[in-house]
Symmetry: C2
Subunit: 359 residues, 2 copies
Amino acid sequence: MPEDRRRPTLDTLAAEVGVSRATVSNAYNRPDQLSEQLRERILRAAERLGYAGPDPVARSLATQRCGAVAVLTDTNLSTAFSDPALSITLDALSSAMDSEDHALLLLAGSAEGGPSPERVRRAQADVLVAYSLADDTPAMRAVAARGLPVVVIDSPMLAGAAMVGIDDRGGANLAAQHLLDHGHRRFAILADEIQPDQYRGPADAGRLAKIGYRVSAERFHGYRSALDAAGIGEVRTWEAGGIDATLGARGARWLLDQDPPPTALLCMTDHLAVGAAQAAAELGIQVPEELSIVGFDDSWLATQVAPRLTTIRQDLAAKGRTAGELAQRLLAGHQAGPPVQLPTELIIRESSGPAPHAQ
Amino acid sequence: MPEDRRRPTLDTLAAEVGVSRATVSNAYNRPDQLSEQLRERILRAAERLGYAGPDPVARSLATQRCGAVAVLTDTNLSTAFSDPALSITLDALSSAMDSEDHALLLLAGSAEGGPSPERVRRAQADVLVAYSLADDTPAMRAVAARGLPVVVIDSPMLAGAAMVGIDDRGGANLAAQHLLDHGHRRFAILADEIQPDQYRGPADAGRLAKIGYRVSAERFHGYRSALDAAGIGEVRTWEAGGIDATLGARGARWLLDQDPPPTALLCMTDHLAVGAAQAAAELGIQVPEELSIVGFDDSWLATQVAPRLTTIRQDLAAKGRTAGELAQRLLAGHQAGPPVQLPTELIIRESSGPAPHAQ
DNA sequence: TTGTATGCGTTATCAT
DNA sequence: ATGATAACGCATACAA
């Protein structure tokens, strides 16, 4: 077999069988448009020539559809993968989109935040899904420039994009209020990321004045609204720089080392809370007798640790599903509606309790 | 601004500025081919017209490159994501490929095993990476038909594809030999998946005669080679149907309920081993005093449980990195070399020990 | 049921 | 430095 140098195309096949390109195309895309036996002949010839079927890229150019939804994450691949919230959300997203029709194109972030603008510009996708990106990441400018339908999960805000998030502020408020109700007056806050700049350490008022992540900002201001209403002044805040439990432990060690130490610790994610609980255990501080901890997200971890975590629940699957539905709607040509905000809920478990008497 | 109905193209822009398409194209791709001021003028016009830059699909058609590597998994998205081995491998893979150049196109599996053949046919990618797929999944026929460079991780075998895996058979042999050396004679095996058919339960000789996953087959025969050499006959085997720890616990309960019960449990993954250890604890069976357990993979979990797991280590990052390098080589036009087989190593921890006296 | 003509938006080669 | 022209491989409206 002389095996031509170049890969066979529709034309090659058409010539071989002695029909037109259109007929071959129909053999693949509209079986009802030609006789069964002609189709058989064409498919057999394809097999013989090693023709793999219509080229996906050329097809995309002609149909103006890619069959892919791009997902942009803030972190690199392994960090993204290790975030259970991402898995749940994306799984729900992709099944809500009739996964037969759309593959997932992963654009993971680099050190500077989201994926590089160049990657965004070159992504072959029908929709862009931004997942918890920083507010001013360069990727978002590229996203807007693409002119594709955009769905934003959590953050950042983007005009013209469909959005789904949760009531972060309300949830955070619930968390703080829960501890206030228990008589706590000495608070500390363990934040994940405030600015996308790799900083880890105490967050001063300056940093907190311009929080780079909408979600962090909402949660912080949710805490503050409850604290302010209770007349509680400035509260020490540690920026962990990620959601790894060990980062949480590190922050907690510092916070618990302050004088006077806090009796109530507000953690912006469950992972941080777990780390904080470990740190407390190492320091011989009883939870919740001496220290109350409240997490956020009600992740899988929350019930796997002892004491089980009091936390704010959000429905990740619903968030992913909603994102998928919004994407479908955009794809169908509809305008983006107002942001969808899913509710949050306080889940009381064993990591929180009354403030110790000796205040 | 009259805002044309259709999106602007290179032509639109060329007409607007009064230059040719080629020049506009050069403005984006070869800045050195035109004067800085002309380029400026073009870019400004693009901004004004809302032209987002060259269309990625059309560019792909012209350049014959997609800028994406497709990864095919056997399971659905959330299962895939929750497998830490996948995260580590893919992360290493993508960074080994100069991630600036290639996005990750995720083709997750459905109920029947790998992704649907149709999805494979339509995937816009330069390379296909098959990750631990069943030997005869329909996806693999589509993979072969595409005629693209293919890298296989673990399984299945595919002629013409580059492959990287580990010495599963040797590792399994080590695991069994370790227990034999400790005097064990009553063995049981906890397998993850033997056939891609959702079956969960005892695996009889019939099922074990045609194992659908190369990795499972290798591990099983690795166990057997050591057992055979020691004159140990048939060994009860449970097929968990997945790598979830709860599936492992279920299988272990059945295996430990047999008469006589095994003193040595060979688990094909660490997750199953963790589940088995939990089941043993619930049944009041001491590990390792009454039951020795050996896992496989040396996953993150192995050191997180008590007792820490004796297991077979494989270097997942190296596997991913190798896969990436193989992909690069294929992309550069080289032929696939012989399969790369990474070594395994026995890691002895606390979950294994001498066989109890009362044999 | 089949074929013709045209469009999809680029890049690349070769002139000029 | 810039332009003309030919690929790239396919889908589709329309004609036959």
